[in-house]
């Protein structure tokens, strides 16, 4: 039982670290390159796909990171209702 919990936590911890680093890199790029991104994203037309794609990318990476984050600090859904 304790072994299973350890495995569960280790798996989530590993995932959270990797996704956290990728998320941090994405946010760093967003702010260091903000002037370029603002200029390109504000062009409209076909460029409209860029903010939508960016939102999907951030939600996938950062969303998975936050999910694992709450799991590793011990805040997870009630077991019976899963």
């Amino acid at each position: 039982m304790a072994g299973n919990i350890d495995k569960f936590k280790k798996r989530h911890f590993g995932k959270a670290i990797v996704l956290g680093i990728v998320s941090l890199v994405l946010y760093t790029i967003l702010f260091t390159e903000q002037h370029v991104l603002n200029e390109v994203f504000a062009k409209g037309g076909y460029y409209a796909l860029l903010p939508i794609a960016t939102a999907f990318l951030f939600s996938f990476v950062h969303g998975n990171f936050t999910g694992n984050f709450w799991d590793i600090i011990g805040i997870s859904a009630k077991k019976e209702k899963r």
Partner: protein, 368 residues
């Protein structure tokens, strides 16, 4: 959208304080949305505008953070078995039409009556919708408390039973959240109204969730989770519409998203620890406080339109600040109720786990 070019080129400079502020507001908004399906976004547009972000850019950036947030929330709650994807998509598509129609009404009002007219329309919509729908939910909550039925299973309303009893050939669809076949001729207007409200006050869920509960007969937990699918479907289309005009400030959208994804996960987890009754408590509380906040602004816009005597600048500023502060308070009170429920639920679950472990240990020891 005549001043689009001017607004798009007017993206604000970001400071660390601004970034932290948006991240925190995003977190609280996400927490509330994860729990009741929506309701966190109404404060974000004014919050961004208070930093000097032009109105249309604030609306566009808010919309662009909403759909990815709703997607993550919907996936999380789907894992808990709370989402009715079919109902979400059906209502989301009609909601998209409602968003477009709602936005065109907004533009016409703005052209005819200017900013003050548009703001008055939004505030009156807030007051009327939240007054009517909020009262219905509040009455339901108070009745549950009075009759000591807060822990009971939710009852399907007489209206929902009637809706489920109507058979219109060629339009009947089975929805798992209702465990019944209903005509899409009922879901389409509800989705459409949700979209109009989303385009008007940024929170379609204030109509979407109650209509799924009281008109269609969905349980509170499933209605609030399904609203996230509706918000996603409506949000993608709405964001694309604004992005086509280059109005999305991706930095603002992603900063708010950064905080709100922490919040939405936590809010979704919270739903597994509470009875459906709590969804209604949080929703009614937020709606009634926000109603008060927006009602304070009505005299300001009436005065700007010359419909009542002119108010002094000092009074206008005081009403604006008070209204914004009450709006933030509404969100914080909602967040507090949710966090308290999660905390209590986690403690109760840990106690139960310890008790079970002790019992298991005793059984093993007794058997030897």
């Amino acid at each position: 959208m005549h001043d689009i070019a001017a607004q798009a080129s007017n993206f604000i400079d970001l400071t660390t304080t601004t970034a932290v502020y948006l991240f925190i507001v995003g977190f609280v908004g996400g927490l509330v949305s994860g729990f009741i399906g929506s309701g966190g976004a109404f404060v974000l547009t004014p919050a961004m505008m208070s930093l000097g972000v032009p109105g249309l850019v604030a609306v566009a950036s808010n919309m662009c953070h909403k759909f990815p947030k709703a997607l993550i929330g919907a996936i999380k709650r789907y894992r808990y078995g709370q989402v009715d994807i079919k109902l979400g998509i059906v209502m989301g598509i009609s909601g998209e039409a409602g968003v477009l129609y709602g936005a065109s009404i907004q533009e016409k009002i703005k052209q005819a009556f200017g900013d003050a007219g548009s703001n008055l329309y939004v505030s009156v919509a807030f007051v009327v919708v939240l007054g009517v729908v909020g009262s219905i939910i509040l009455k339901d909550v108070l009745n549950s408390r009075k009759n000591h039925t807060t822990n009971d299973e939710e009852k399907v309303t007489a209206l929902a039973r009637w809706v489920q009893s109507i058979h219109i050939p060629g339009t009947m669809v089975y929805f798992k959240s209702l465990n019944a076949r209903i005509s899409v001729l009922f879901t389409i207007p509800l989705g459409f109204a949700t979209g109009i409200l989303a385009a008007t006050i940024a929170v379609g869920g204030f109509v979407g969730v109650p209509s799924m509960m009281y008109v269609l007969g969905a349980p509170g937990l499933m209605a609030s989770a399904t609203e996230l699918v509706i918000a996603f479907v409506m949000g993608v289309g709405g964001s694309l519409k604004y992005a086509l005009h280059g109005l999305v400030d991706i930095r603002l959208a992603m900063l708010i998203l950064g905080g709100s994804l922490f919040g939405i996960q936590l809010g979704a987890i919270g739903t597994t620890y509470v009875k459906p009754y709590m969804i209604k408590v949080v929703m009614a509380t937020i709606m009634m406080i926000v109603l008060f906040s927006r009602a304070l602004m009505v005299p300001v816009y009436l005065s700007q339109l010359g419909l009542i005597s002119k108010l002094g600048d000092g009074l206008i500023n005081a009403l604006k600040s008070t209204s914004f502060a009450i709006m933030i308070l509404a969100l914080l009170i909602g967040a507090f109720i949710i966090l308290k429920a999660i905390f209590k639920g986690l403690i109760a679950e840990r106690r139960l786990t310890i008790q079970l472990a002790v019992k298991q240990q005793q059984t093993v020891t007794g058997g030897q």
